[in-house]
């Protein structure tokens, strides 16, 4: 159960609601997300929280368990919003760690008349480099092949004629797709070493 307080509720008002909750035997933990104040009922008989609706600071009570939640699932706001925010913050923490341990570099600008070095292609373009490196014949074959493969990829739902959701029913499409994935990996390795 999550108790949603009105925006900009003061700490005293939050404390008053928490005190009322303790008196009702449903202790909770206060959360602050921007200007939003929430109280998560941590234990006790959560049904008693409906008495809190008489408090002027309490805006709504959102059940996070019980028959309705088991049948229909939880609402995006506030339950999933909190989870999504928490995961976003974790992701940001991971990025900060990566940036701290592996910071990007920068070299100097080329001087006038200086020969440009052989470019070091980014890793995510390795499969495309693989296609260009392995394509036979004139120079236009490789790029044209890339465009054709891209169009085939986007049109895949139109080409897939399988019916049903089971693995057996989708076997031809799955096999083709997995083959393409293996090819992309192989091309990536070929492109990385080209």
């Amino acid at each position: 159960m999550i108790v949603l307080l009105s925006r900009g509720a003061s700490p005293e008002e939050v404390e008053a609601v928490l005190a009322r909750m303790r008196a009702l035997g449903i202790p909770g933990a206060s959360l602050e997300v921007g200007s939003l104040r929430l109280i998560h009922v941590t234990r006790g008989r959560a049904r008693r929280a409906r008495w809190l609706l008489s408090e002027p600071t309490v805006e709504a009570i959102v059940p996070t368990s019980g028959p309705r939640v088991r049948r229909d699932g939880r609402r995006f706001y506030p339950f999933h919003t909190l989870c999504a925010t928490a995961l976003g913050l974790l992701l940001l923490g991971l990025l900060v760690l990566l940036a701290g341990f592996f910071p990007p570099g920068v070299t100097s600008a080329p001087a006038a008349g200086e020969m440009a070095p052989a470019p070091e292609w980014p890793w995510y373009l390795a499969p495309m480099r693989g296609v260009l490196a392995l394509a036979p014949g004139p120079a236009w074959v490789g790029p044209s092949l890339l465009v054709a493969l891209g169009a085939l990829f986007l049109a895949f739902p139109l080409l897939d004629r399988t019916r049903g959701d089971g693995v057996r029913a989708r076997a031809p499409a799955l096999a083709a797709g997995i083959l393409v994935m293996i090819m992309v990996l192989a091309l990536g390795i070929a492109g990385g070493s080209a």
Partner: protein, 212 residues
């Protein structure tokens, strides 16, 4: 008298936020949500970097070095931007693989697959144009090689390469175009594709509920 609460769009958003989204579902535990989170990080860190970045031939490389050396926490913001960009490429590709393996690209969801594919292309474009912005020796060589590849595509390759190059040779116009693509065209395209994807998701979900 109409109030803010009567506004159709706000009411629709409010209703969507209040609608339960199915028992046991965890929409935030998906590559799609991670893509959205990474796009937000990229937008914010990119906005901070753009305060110091100068898209001029003789100043671009120096402005990036200034961010790395003299701006407080500048190296960290640039690092976060770079890693978020790499993460976005991985998450966008992983989301497409997941959609493929679960078969959620057929019927009403075909449009969503096409949008996902276009989003991957936009993400690759964003990452690649970002590589060019420091305009160091490596970026110049990369821009030249990429433009040679584009030039080789029959029919629409030469005009496309000419439009991207902005002149006879790789130079100031190329950098200006890469900067415009990285900071204006592609981010807005990504935002538009994201909105369309959400609309497709809501639309296909509504249709599934009508059938049950």
């Amino acid at each position: 008298m109409r109030t803010e609460n009567d506004h159709g769009l706000l009411r629709a958003i409010g209703a969507a936020l209040r609608t339960p989204i199915g028992p046991g579902r965890k929409p935030w535990l998906s590559f799609g949500w991670m893509c959205v989170a990474l796009l937000v990080v990229l937008g914010l860190s990119g906005a901070l970097l753009s305060i110091y970045y100068l898209p001029a031939l003789d100043a671009a490389s120096e402005s990036v070095r200034f961010v790395m050396r003299d701006v407080e926490w500048g190296w960290l913001v640039r690092g976060v931007h770079g890693w978020a960009s790499a993460g976005l490429v991985v998450c966008a590709a992983a989301q497409l693989v997941r959609v493929f393996l679960t078969g959620r690209y057929r019927g009403a969801r075909a449009g969503s697959w096409v949008l996902g594919g276009l989003m991957l292309l936009v993400v690759l474009g964003l990452a690649f144009t970002g590589e060019l912005l420091p305009w160091d020796a490596e970026s110049v060589a990369l821009a030249g090689a990429a433009l040679d590849g584009t030039q080789a595509i029959p029919v629409f390759g030469p005009p496309l390469a000419s439009a991207m190059r902005g002149g006879a040779e790789v130079g100031a116009a190329t950098l200006a175009r890469a900067h415009a693509a990285h900071t204006l065209v592609l981010p807005w395209l990504a935002f538009l594709l994201l909105l369309l994807e959400l609309w497709f998701l809501a639309h296909s979900r509504g249709r599934r509920e009508e059938h049950t």
